[in-house]
């Protein structure tokens, strides 16, 4: 058995086409992994810079206040560290979510921002347009999600389409069958060699980039990588099992290749597209246009009722009444804009929650639809481990909202009443600590996706094992 496997490996690796294909796959894996790493490092650098700038900015404000209090400096018209509407109102604190386990796997659009700037004012009116030509995003990023879910099956099919049908075509299948080893065993060994070759290329590439990019987070990354590789093995096994099934019947490598290509189109292209359409019909994505209109309605309504909103705020918090009249700008920003933004968030919160709920509902349904396409399942597994699941976004935004509440509570009195800030206001300011998703819901979700991958995967492998008993030198119609 071992000798036969070794022989098959030698035959496989001596074929220039096999080496070429494995080489191309290795290059594609490395390029995709490189893209993911570059994107990840860029995100981390941006986040680190933003956090450092934030620390420096508050340290500078605190120092300026210290100097003022010690009489070493004089208070200017603008930028005073003592006036909350100058020092705090426009200060945007950078918040970074809990890192995903394997972000390097994807370089696509992420629903969860990797850095969010939050101030005492509402964050819901912030727009994040992009300047890039969307033609460059039309096909999606060149990342490991693409290489592994789309290209890897094609490599598996090209390498697996002629494991027996090629012998039939050359007329050597009968001779092969007469050598004392059944064709079924020969096919299994050939497929096993192809499985390990393909798996080794992708797994090695992925392991290397994870070790490089997650060296400070290996405790989280390695178990997730092991889980992902399990999914990868099942996914690859599914495609090679299909190759085996086709080889049972096909009389030539060409017809096997055509049949497998048809299956690839059905499983990897048509089925996810169809699932997507059905899921969108059952659980439509959040309507952004309606979201924008709702946002503007609230804004316009609060503007019309601005005096009423201000009065409501100060009657609810009479201790916050301004101690000075202030100029027209102070009057606008403190007594009008600030209460209006608080009211805005109260009015917009249910709409934002509905949008997040719509996203999550759609993702849940999509995971169930994964049972009809292992490509979809494996993609969802990869994207989830890369941090693209909408649930991660919800968790992060809940933490952001909670933090913003604490930030507002901390400065509310001084800002609204225009009382001077003290050093202790700076020293006791709340900081953001990201929280991860609850382990049960996080890993329960992953388990569901894995189950939808395992089901068709093992079904295909089981069918291949069953049908391969009928494997004959001339093929079956």
């Amino acid at each position: 058995m071992k000798l036969r496997l070794k022989n098959e490996w030698r035959l496989f690796i001596r074929a220039p086409a096999s080496v070429l294909l494995l080489g191309v796959l290795a290059i594609l894996t490395m390029v995709a992994a490189g893209n993911g790493t570059q994107r990840l490092l860029q995100e981390r650098i941006t986040a680190r810079q933003a956090l450092a700038e934030d620390r420096e900015s508050f340290a500078a404000k605190r120092k300026a206040l210290e100097d003022l209090e010690a009489g070493r400096a004089q208070e200017g018209q603008v930028g005073s560290p003592r006036k909350a509407h100058q020092a705090i109102l426009s200060a945007r604190r950078p918040l970074v979510p809990n890192p995903a386990e394997l972000p390097v796997l994807s370089s696509g659009t992420r629903p969860t921002p990797e850095l969010l700037a939050v101030s005492i004012l509402t964050r819901h009116v912030d727009q994040q347009p992009r300047l890039d030509d969307p033609s460059n995003r039309l096909d999606g990023p060149f990342d490991l999600v693409f290489v592994v879910t789309w290209l890897l099956p094609l490599f598996a099919l090209v390498l697996g389409c002629d494991v027996i049908s090629g012998d039939r075509e050359r007329g050597s299948a009968t001779l092969l069958a007469s050598q004392g080893t059944s064709l079924r065993r020969i096919m299994a060994k050939r497929l096993l060699v192809r499985f390990w070759s393909l798996f080794a290329v992708v797994a090695t590439g992925s392991l290397v980039v994870v070790l490089i990019s997650e060296r400070t987070n290996l405790g989280n990354a390695l178990p997730a990588l092991a889980l992902w590789m399990t999914g990868l093995a099942v996914y690859l096994g599914f495609w090679l099992a299909l190759a085996a099934l086709v080889n049972v019947h096909a009389r030539s490598a060409a017809s096997a290749a055509l049949a497998l290509l048809g299956i690839w189109i059905a499983v990897a292209v048509a089925s996810p597209a169809l699932s997507g359409s059905v899921v969108q019909a059952l659980a439509p994505p959040p309507d952004r246009l309606q979201g924008v209109l709702a946002l503007r309605d609230i804004d316009a309504d609060l503007n019309r009722r601005r005096r009423e909103v201000t009065n409501e705020y100060y009657s609810r918090s009479p201790q916050n009444r301004p101690i000075a009249a202030g100029d027209e700008f102070e009057h606008y920003f403190v007594t009008e804009l600030y209460p209006r933004h608080l009211a805005f968030d109260r009015a917009y919160a249910p709409i934002a929650a509905r949008m997040d709920e719509a996203r999550t509902r759609q993702a849940r349904l999509m995971r169930v639809a994964g049972v009809f396409s292992p490509t979809l399942s494996f993609r969802l597994l990869t994207e989830d481990l890369a941090g693209l699941a909408p649930e991660r976004r919800v968790t992060f935004f809940e933490a952001v909202d909670s933090y913003q509440d604490r930030w507002r509570d901390h400065f509310d009195h001084k800002l609204a009443s225009m009382r001077p800030l003290t050093l202790s206001d700076y020293d006791s300011k709340p900081d953001f600590h990201p929280v991860g998703e609850r382990a049960l819901s996080r890993w329960g979700r992953i388990a569901l996706i894995l189950a939808t991958l395992l089901l068709p995967g093992f079904a295909a492998i089981g069918a291949a094992l069953r049908r391969s008993r009928r494997l004959a030198p001339f093929g079956t119609p």
Partner: protein
């Protein structure tokens, strides 16, 4: 089967007819046609429904956004300019077949004070947490991806299949020249492939004409014809490439492997690799970087012109001189309005300068894509299809230009209000709904087919060159290398 006549055109026609009748008997091809036509029909119907729904939603959105602008109530004009207004990019009915960049750029632009609008304010792809890969389901994507695959495979199986079955030897033994036989065979296969193309053409034309307003039907019909022609050229080029491969390879297996490699490389790999290269070689700045640069130029000036502070000082002096007063507080008009006007004008100059650099980046990225299109004609065909459907980046840019001019105009109107309603250095004042009504809505016309064709001249030439080069190249190759 008709006998082969002696004159060459007649021979070619006879071979083509025979090829058509032979192909019709092939069950695999009939099945492939059925799948392709069913997929196309599904995509077109679904695309049509989405297009109609999007058009309805867009119209309702634009109307409501306009109402919100008109009824926003009393507000300072500058804050009204920040409240801004939304405009939506109108679409041609052909977008049902090729939605192009719609899902990635969004259809709306938020126009507010100071900043040039940018697409993706309402990012549709942000909501697609579960993206489905290239051309998830558009009619154009199916025609190009599956139609292209079918053309390549049909071509690849043609000569090699006849060689393996011994038919080629028999045909050539009858005295028919290799080139004549190959030309007839390729034309026959093209005739077969013309069936799904013609059906798609009827569907596209019908949908486009039904969806277009009466006055635009001529333009839409011309765009639809060019769109179909470009796809026909793509299919033809791939068929000819398949035939060429088939002529020079030793077996059906080798021909098919080569055809599949070309399809995977040209249709699956090349578009993503090209996009990645374009961003590597000519990276687009992030909006934050773009705004940092414009802010720096705004502050510091350029071309020996001082920055904003220096300009503001000069403006104050010239305004005082103009009104013959000593201090800003004595001015009979609102200096804050004059200042805002100048600020916006200077900001527009800075922005025009920076945007010209950004436009060069877009051009470089386009050039990179076109270099790749010279190797992978799918990229050129898709570019033309989007261009004709009005869903490519040049159409978006055209709309963006119109929206930016409109934004500057309405910004000027807001600043005029401040200038004329307050005096001296006062800032606070309120405009009313009557003031907002003086801002007319944006009137935008989609450019005509001639403009679209000019924009797509390069990909069109590439595709044409491909179609001609591959057709003649395959004949030339076959006459030199084809052996029974």
């Amino acid at each position: 089967v008709p006998a082969i006549p002696s004159e060459r055109p007649g021979v070619i026609a006879t071979i083509a007819r025979r090829e058509i009748s032979l192909q019709f008997r092939d069950g695999r091809l009939r099945l492939a046609f059925l799948v392709l036509i069913a997929a196309l029909a599904t995509a077109c119907v679904s695309g049509w429904m989405q297009f109609k729904q999007a058009a309805r939603e867009q119209q309702a959105f634009e109307q409501r956004a306009r109402d919100q602008w008109l009824t926003q109530g009393e507000r300072h004009p500058h804050r009204a300019a920040h409240f801004g207004s939304y405009v939506t990019k109108p679409e041609l009915s052909l977008a049902f077949f090729e939605p192009g960049l719609r899902s990635f750029a969004g259809q709306t632009l938020w126009l507010e004070a100071h900043d040039r609008p940018a697409f993706a304010n309402v990012r549709a792809d942000d909501d697609q947490t579960l993206t489905l890969g290239p051309g998830a389901a558009s009619g154009a994507a199916i025609l190009q991806l599956l139609g292209g695959l079918l053309a390549l495979c049909t071509g690849a199986l043609s000569v090699a299949g006849d060689r393996e079955s011994g038919v080629l030897r028999q045909v050539l033994a009858q005295g028919v020249g290799v080139r004549t036989w190959l030309a007839g065979k390729t034309l026959g296969l093209a005739g077969i492939l013309a069936i799904p193309l013609a059906l798609a053409g009827i569907g596209v034309l019908a949908g486009a004409l039904i969806g277009a307003p009466t006055w635009a039907r001529g333009d839409v019909a011309a765009r639809a014809s060019l769109l179909l022609l470009s796809n026909a050229l793509l299919v033809w080029a791939l068929l000819a490439a398949g035939v060429a491969i088939s002529s020079i390879t030793n077996s059906v297996r080798a021909a098919l492997t080569a055809a599949l490699a070309i399809w995977i490389g040209g249709f699956v790999l090349a578009p993503r690799a090209t996009a990645m290269l374009a961003e590597w070689i000519a990276p687009t700045p992030s909006l934050a970087d773009y705004r940092l640069r414009t802010a720096k130029l705004f502050r510091e000036g350029f071309d020996a012109r001082g920055g904003y502070d220096a300009q503001l000082k000069a403006l104050q002096e010239s305004t005082l001189r103009h009104y013959g007063v000593e201090t800003l507080a004595e001015l009979p008009v609102g200096f804050s309005g004059i200042r805002m006007k100048h600020m916006d004008a200077w900001s527009a100059e800075v922005d025009d300068r920076e945007f010209a650099i950004l436009a060069q980046t877009y051009e470089r990225q386009f050039a990179i894509r076109m270099v790749a299109a010279a190797l992978a004609p799918f990229i050129a065909a898709r570019q033309i299809t989007q261009g004709m459907a009005g869903t490519d980046w040049s159409h978006y840019q055209h709309f963006l230009g119109a929206a930016e001019r409109y934004r500057r105009q309405f910004g000027r109107q807001m600043n005029d209000l401040i200038e004329h309603r307050v005096a001296g250095e006062t800032w606070e004042m309120d405009g009313t709904n009557a003031d907002w009504a003086t801002v007319k809505p944006l009137r935008y016309s989609i450019p005509d087919v001639r403009w679209a064709l000019r924009e797509q001249a390069i990909p069109a030439l590439i595709l044409l060159a491909w179609a001609l080069a591959v057709a003649f190249g395959s004949l030339w190759l076959a006459s030199r290398r084809l052996e029974p």
